[in-house]
Symmetry: C2
Subunit: 381 residues, 2 copies
């Protein structure tokens, strides 16, 4: 089976893997109920707690990020519970679908693609809801929500605050405890520099309280069972030991760089990408103050489709960027700048994208765009 | 983080990985919605259909094997459905727990550890049950059920037949279609020679029919969504692309060896292990005609605990065998002989185990045991 391994992945996940992570993934399998595994999972939990900025355990699930989102919902809610879901893109939609699948009574607060939810408006809509659900970083639009303000609104209304941070955790500072996020879900294949296949779930004190009476059915995603097992250095089900070994390596890399530096690097890369967008005469999809630090969504110039752009950048430059999803297909392109991404890779991507936009008939000055990106990177550090 | 990579894994999963699989795991991540992935997942589905001996798609989930067992249950049942669960060990128990978690009305047919269920007795207990659930190969006891006869009993009673083959599929011939298994779950870390982290689910025509009205909630484990995505060469959620690439490699290895040869090798290894047990003056836990081809459970000789045995074999020989689980802790030891296991590794394991049994005061003749194993391997081929 031929898989092209020469592509630079500048999509919002899966991301490129550092060589240390690849090396770890290629090592032998090992026993999941021995002392080596117990030490490993304890170290991973410690590292994840730093990344999540929480005193609570961060439970490791063998699943995609969406598995952790399901876990975040079914461990604290009961069928019939009214919940308010902020929906500003594909992943907000998915959060509502998961909650509805398990019998929640879902109210949606739909936000236009590219806009963040106004926390005051969310506050005014909350009334008798058991939980407020939102995607902190909407991968489909490149929008970062004001998670701190949304959390405050949720808590003031007596609602549990459930946040999907699948694409952002690790790439942006999300102080879970300080912001009062009760349940937080994330995944391995974005800022954690790993392949897809592990997911993370954090539950705070209020969430564990809700867990005691939460009636949505759960077995594989039972976080109480995961917490009990973690105390013995285990997981309830045979976990992906290879990925957890690689997680240990990735966390060492992140903590070695320093989380503040990691977040600053992501911020600077995002700054550079946005500066390139503007200097190139392109338009950001997202409202600029709410632009994400890990992925940038750009409107396709009039008369062009991002489908063509993505193909040309891939075929002519061996760089993979993303198009839009659902209604946004063709209308936007997205550049991921997360994980082990560095300025050099981003500049190559921006150069290739400018060239191919020119090829599609869009007039843009290559040097102006790249200079702006370089300057903004420095300013963002 | 130090993880001992020099251990020979002779436990019933995770198993040793072939070098080709390790190499594949250590390669770069790649995009899960591109043509490379579509070709890969189609090839994996083709290979899995051969292993499962089915005309139905085999859906690939990013989870532990227990995730596929949950999927097998929640996709065809509704809360309140009466089901009969054959429970002959830890994994049978887990199947019942999963069904109960999602609201099934669970009747248990408890079989003594080490015995297979009598199909006639199962037949007589089936009455108005929506499904019959059983673990085809109970990893905790080394017992193989008569899956063909159980399936016939289930079908004759109008019940769906749901089988957990997590530890056996790939290592034993389980003709899913010919035997009339309606839903079959398996996992990656046993006979498939992969780390844990992928799971497989096959649904037959009767299962899809049941799926249309099955009301147990599901989102991450929604197999209809998985089937719909597979038709587009995708998965509903970002899958573990690294593991699926390695699955492609592992399936090539299995099909290259020839499935008949793979199954024969497993059978010969099991034969060898059982011959060693008997020639060494030890007792099998399992009723011999129902002994598994992938794992052998042996009673600890009187006055010894398998906990000591496992430690000594590990520390003095760098070989990992398993003890017992739950009530069987200390009372049995288990030797896994699945995946890329060959006679040489098994003989090393048997020799080390004999030596350490001697060290624990059990009188056994090393040469007699090993000669019996060698002869039985040849006879089993």
């Amino acid at each position: 089976m031929m898989i092209a391994d020469d592509l630079l992945l500048m999509i919002p996940g899966p991301t490129n893997l550092p060589p240390e992570v690849q090396e770890a993934l290629g090592r032998p399998a090992f026993y999941h109920r021995g002392s080596d595994f117990a030490a490993l999972i304890a170290a991973c939990n410690d590292g994840l707690k730093k990344v999540f900025q929480t005193e609570n355990d961060v439970l490791i699930l063998t699943s995609s990020g969406s598995g952790a989102v399901e876990a975040a919902i079914v461990n604290v809610l009961s069928p019939g519970d009214r919940v308010l879901v902020v929906e500003g893109g594909k992943f907000g939609e998915r959060m509502g679908e998961i909650a509805a699948s398990f019998g929640a009574d879902v109210d949606k607060f739909v936000v236009e693609a590219g806009r963040a939810a106004d926390p005051a408006e969310v506050r005014s809509r909350l009334s008798g809801h058991k939980a407020l659900l939102f995607v902190q970083n909407e991968t489909s639009t490149g929008v970062r929500q004001d998670a701190d303000l949304l959390a405050a609104a949720g808590r003031d209304a007596g609602a549990l605050v459930i946040a999907d941070t699948v694409s952002s955790m690790g790439g942006m500072s999300i102080p879970c405890d300080a912001w009062g996020l009760d349940v937080v879900a994330s995944g391995s294949q974005k800022a954690f520099m790993l392949p897809p296949g592990l997911a993370f779930a954090m539950m705070g004190a209020r969430a564990w309280e809700a867990n005691a009476t939460a009636k949505m059915p759960r077995s594989y995603f039972d976080l109480k069972a995961a917490k009990k097992s973690l105390e013995k250095g285990q997981t309830p089900f045979t976990p992906n030991v290879s990925m957890i070994r690689a997680l240990g390596v990735a966390l060492d890399l992140m903590l070695g760089e320093g989380l503040d530096n990691v977040w600053r690097r992501h911020h600077a890369l995002a700054n550079a990408c946005r500066a390139w967008v503007k200097a190139s005469g392109l338009d950001l999809l997202a409202d600029e103050p709410h632009c994400s630090d890990v992925v940038t969504a750009v409107r396709s110039p009039e008369g062009t489709s991002s489908k063509d752009l993505v193909s040309r950048v891939r075929d002519n430059h061996r760089i993979l960027i993303s198009g839009g999803q659902g209604d946004l297909a063709g209308k936007i392109f997205r550049i991921g700048h997360m994980g082990c991404c560095q300025l050099d890779g981003l500049l190559r991507t921006l150069e290739a994208t400018s060239l191919e936009l020119q090829g599609l008939g869009f007039a843009t000055d290559l040097a102006v765009g790249l200079d702006a990106a370089r300057a903004a990177y420095k300013a963002g550090l």
